[in-house]
Amino acid sequence: MTAFLRFLINGVSLGSVYAIIALGYTMVYGIAKMLNFAHGDVIMVGAYIAFCGLQYWGFPPVAAILAAMVVCTVLGVTIEGLAYRPLRQAPSLAVLITAIGMSYLLQNVALMIWGANPKSFPQTFINSSTWNIGEMSISSATVITILANIVIMIGLTLFTAKTKMGKAMRCVSEDRGAAELMGINVNRTISATFAIGSALAAIAGVLLCSSYPILQPTTGSMPGIKAFTAAVFGGIGSIPGAMIGGVLLGVIEILGKAYISTEVGDAIVFAVLIVVLLVKPSGLLGKPVREKV
């Protein structure tokens, strides 16, 4: 029973990381109607920046995280402006291929800068201690990740509901043309979405590496794909959906690895994606879309 509970908590923690990443996917998908394949690699860049801050530049942990967020925000907005904006009217196939190209570009640039050897992510306040509850010991990283997820969810929900930019985002995601006619600057709204998504990706990168401290250029790609799965699972475009999808997926993955087989853990996650898409393509909380004829 204790073992099960520990797996469950670890699952929720891993799921929280997925949820934070999934937010980036779900917001960009909702607003720009594109699958930003490079999002997972922004996580990796964020983790590397934080790593450099802690290891080489002597930053305190909070400063390192902030530096990672700033770099990722700039990176996200730049990617959007250079690669995706010229393709706003292009078929989705072209945009998707561009995004895949961007993902590869980030991975290979990271490979050139930091090399292929895995770096071990340093200890910070996030993962320095373990707490014992009864017979169960929980790493502080697990708890902090879950807490961070909750704070981010609440913050983001308030942001989209209350602020002007948040409302603009909802408008653009509903009907881009109408939003433009109402005087909303669509390009700026999309840039802001990328900025927020990328800043969150930096946080996710640090949290991910605090729990799984191995950092290499491909670190972001698998969690990225799984987070997209989580976003689809919860219903793409929906913020609470991303949270539920992420947490469920994390739990499924950890339990699958623990009780079925370590090697096929990923296969189980993807099988979940496929089943969800077949049974309820709009996800748990998503709305079905109708094509205009």
């Binding site: 998908y29 594109m34 699958l35 690669a83 010229p86 393709l87 009217q89 292009a90 078929p91 989705s92 196939l93 072209a94 945009v95 998707l96 291929i97 561009t98 895949i100 190209g101 961007m102 993902s103 590869y104 570009l105 991975q107 290979n108 640039v109 490979l111 050139m112 790609s221 794909i225 997209f228 799965t229 689809v232 087989s261 090697e263 096929v264 990923d266 296969a267 993807f270 099988a271 994606l273 496929i274 898409l277 077949l278 393509p281 094509e291 004829v293």
Partner: protein, 353 residues
């Protein structure tokens, strides 16, 4: 004969002639021993990658669906080929390598086609980005499953399992989990590769220029209109997808039987992207372009050692630039204006208007 038909016929003829000429040229180089060792070693892989690129082009370029798991089908073919060849040798003592190769390739194509159909039934109901991500997911599922897959042969019988302990004692292992297919006898030949390329060309080019091919293109250009004309969209998307899977499986069998081991890490997502780069660079829907870019980009890293290190980096930039240049309206109209004088001449020369 109409002008359009003539254009297509010439295109097909040029494609066939180029491939045949390249084969004859390379064969004469082999006969004269003027071919470099590294290029000779690349001949069969080049054929495999050409088949991969042309078949993926059928899905991405002609059918208009982005498949990110094409390497998965290649791995299915490679494993099937290795198993069939090993089984024939160990179980039935078939020494004729040509027979083994042909049967292995056929089996690889067949099995990959079955897997393609099983995947296609659910996947092709989805659209656009979802379809891409699910094909990716399937590619990864296939890879994780082969990682824990064991096949052995004993007394002419095949034994499969996902657990090594289920294998009988006196067994010759053919597929050994994460170690991959082991002790494969390399029997692939350049001639076999050339024939496979020709078969692929016949299938894909003839399919494109037929009733079924037009239906596939119609579904790509406008799904609702195609359905309204009575075209069964799922059927034709499936046709393109499964045909591509069969061809990829055949290429995989050839590829697997070209070396002594087949390991799961040969068929990662990166390989799927590699093939996608061939297709995008050669032009979506352009078969000849796929052939040239697949051949060229397979040899290039061998020729330029320095390039090999930056290969993926260059590929990434190429993908992005090609997409932006071919799809951005501003850039396109700019290019159109530059080439306008050239095209005007062509138009007045023709009899169309």
């Amino acid at each position: 004969m109409t002008k359009e038909k003539r254009k297509r016929l010439i295109y097909s003829l040029v494609t066939y002639l180029l491939v045949i000429a390249a084969f004859i040229f390379l064969q004469s180089m082999i006969a004269n021993k003027t071919i470099s060792r590294s290029l000779k070693g690349q001949l069969v892989p080049i054929c495999c990658w050409i088949v991969m690129a042309v078949s993926l082009n059928l899905v991405v370029g002609i059918s208009g669906e982005l498949s990110l798991g094409h390497a998965g089908f290649m791995s299915v073919g490679a494993y099937t080929g290795a198993v069939v060849s090993g089984w024939l040798l160990n179980g039935f003592d078939v020494q004729d390598t040509t027979l083994r190769l042909v049967l292995a390739i056929v089996a690889g194509g067949l099995f990959s086609g079955i897997v393609g159909a099983l995947i296609g039934i659910p996947v092709l109901r989805l659209r656009g980005d979802y379809l891409a991500i699910v094909t990716l997911a399937f590619g990864e599922i296939i890879r994780s499953l082969v990682n824990v897959f064991y096949v052995g042969t004993a007394d002419g019988k095949l034994h499969f399992s996902f657990l090594q302990k289920n294998m009988p004692d006196a067994v010759t292992m053919l597929v050994d989990g994460a170690k991959g297919a082991v002790k494969v006898k390399p029997i692939s030949t350049f001639t076999a590769g050339f024939i496979l390329v020709l078969i692929t060309l016949v299938v894909v080019l003839n399919l494109i220029n037929s009733r079924a091919g037009r239906a596939i293109k119609a579904c790509r250009d406008n799904r609702i209109a195609a359905e309204s004309m009575g075209v069964n969209v799922t059927k034709y998307k499936m046709m393109a997808f499964v045909t591509a899977a069969v061809l990829a499986g055949m290429a995989g069998a050839l590829y697997g039987l070209n070396s002594s081991t087949v390991v799961p890490s040969q068929f990662t997502f990166n390989q799927s992207i590699n093939v996608l780069v061939f297709v995008v660079l050669g032009g979506l829907g352009n078969v000849l372009g796929s052939i040239i870019s697949a051949a060229f980009l397979t040899i290039l890293p061998e020729m330029l050692r320095a390039f090999a290190d930056y290969r993926m980096l260059v590929y990434a930039v190429v993908l992005i630039l090609v997409m932006i240049f071919t799809n951005n309206p501003t850039i396109r109209s700019w290019v159109n204006r530059l080439t306008a004088p050239l095209r005007k001449k062509e138009k007045t020369g023709g009899d169309a208007q």
